[in-house]
């Protein structure tokens, strides 16, 4: 299949679309060890001024990682670097869309500008992924 080495500057990368179900934050809390109640307890979240329990930022970052590694068929060796800025709250039961554009191809590396959004709400901005193109 086509991999990172076949990408050119300006290419759009295939979108990843995923809708976390109501209990995803609970499963991610268990898997990651992050039991901050703002992620798993809607009442606690509301008490501290949030609209409801919010997705873990690092789960959303993992979706950005997955969306970009998909270019290399999900090979965990392909992703060499990922930097993200968390700029919005993500919510369960809303579709998250990871998209990106190839910024640079050089020296066996592909750099992709990437974002994650729920509707108009960009939850991860100014993200950059670097994939090995070997």
């Amino acid at each position: 299949m086509a991999g990172p080495k076949d990408l050119n500057e300006g290419d759009a990368v295939p979108e990843l679309r995923v809708t976390p179900d109501k209990y995803l934050p609970h499963r991610y809390a268990g898997a990651s060890g992050d039991f901050n109640p703002i992620h798993i307890d809607p009442e606690f979240a509301k008490a501290v001024g949030l609209p409801g329990n919010i997705l873990h930022g690092l789960w959303m970052m993992a979706q950005v990682a997955r969306g970009n590694a998909a270019l290399a068929d999900g090979d965990p060796r392909s992703l060499k670097r990922l930097s993200v800025q968390f700029r919005g709250m993500g919510f369960p039961e809303q579709e998250l869309v990871v998209s990106g554009t190839v910024k640079e191809v050089s020296d066996g590396r592909v750099v992709i500008d990437t974002v994650a959004a729920q509707g108009d709400n960009q939850v991860i901005r100014n993200a950059q992924a670097e994939l090995s193109a070997d």
Binding site: A31, S32, G33, R66, A69, P76, L79, L82
Partner: protein
């Protein structure tokens, strides 16, 4: 009140994490990483890994243990109630596999104020039992109203 910056350069003791197959599978399920190399020992070896391999972002599981004492350190002085995770960067090297023993060391890289917010930047470096670096992390936490 000016921000306390004495903790810049502080390094916390290394935290050890023993990687196991079921934790890798549980994490891979939670993030939707579908590949067999995260679930099946033989599939992972056939793909050239030493053993069942973790998704790259599994690094948050083994390095969180090193980050907790840094964020909670009174000398750093983060007000957890107003803290947000601002940005995050990881650079990966050696893949992490079932049976690996990972040591992570956290360092306070920067503390500064901008637009009335406190920025606390930590670096973590993780290495496996063979001394190979698995990931380097840069964690930026933002505290409102400092």
């Amino acid at each position: 009140m000016p921000l306390e910056t004495d903790a810049i350069g502080k390094r916390w003791p290394a935290a050890t994490y023993e990687v196991g197959a079921e934790k890798i599978r549980e994490y891979a399920d939670a993030i939707g990483a579908a590949s067999d190399v995260h679930r099946d020992h033989e599939a992972a070896r056939a793909a050239g890994f030493r053993d069942l391999v973790a998704p790259p972002m599994f690094c948050v599981v083994y390095s969180a243990r090193a980050m907790a004492p840094a964020i909670l350190d009174p000398e750093v002085g983060i007000n957890l109630a107003t803290m947000l995770h601002g940005s995050q960067e990881f650079e990966w090297d050696e893949p992490v596999c079932d049976g690996d023993v990972i040591e992570t060391t956290a360092t306070c890289a920067e503390i500064y104020e901008k637009d009335g917010k406190g920025f606390y930047v930590f670096e973590t470096v993780s290495t496996n039992q063979d001394g190979k670096q698995t990931v380097k992390g840069t964690w930026t936490n933002i505290v409102r109203g400092v």
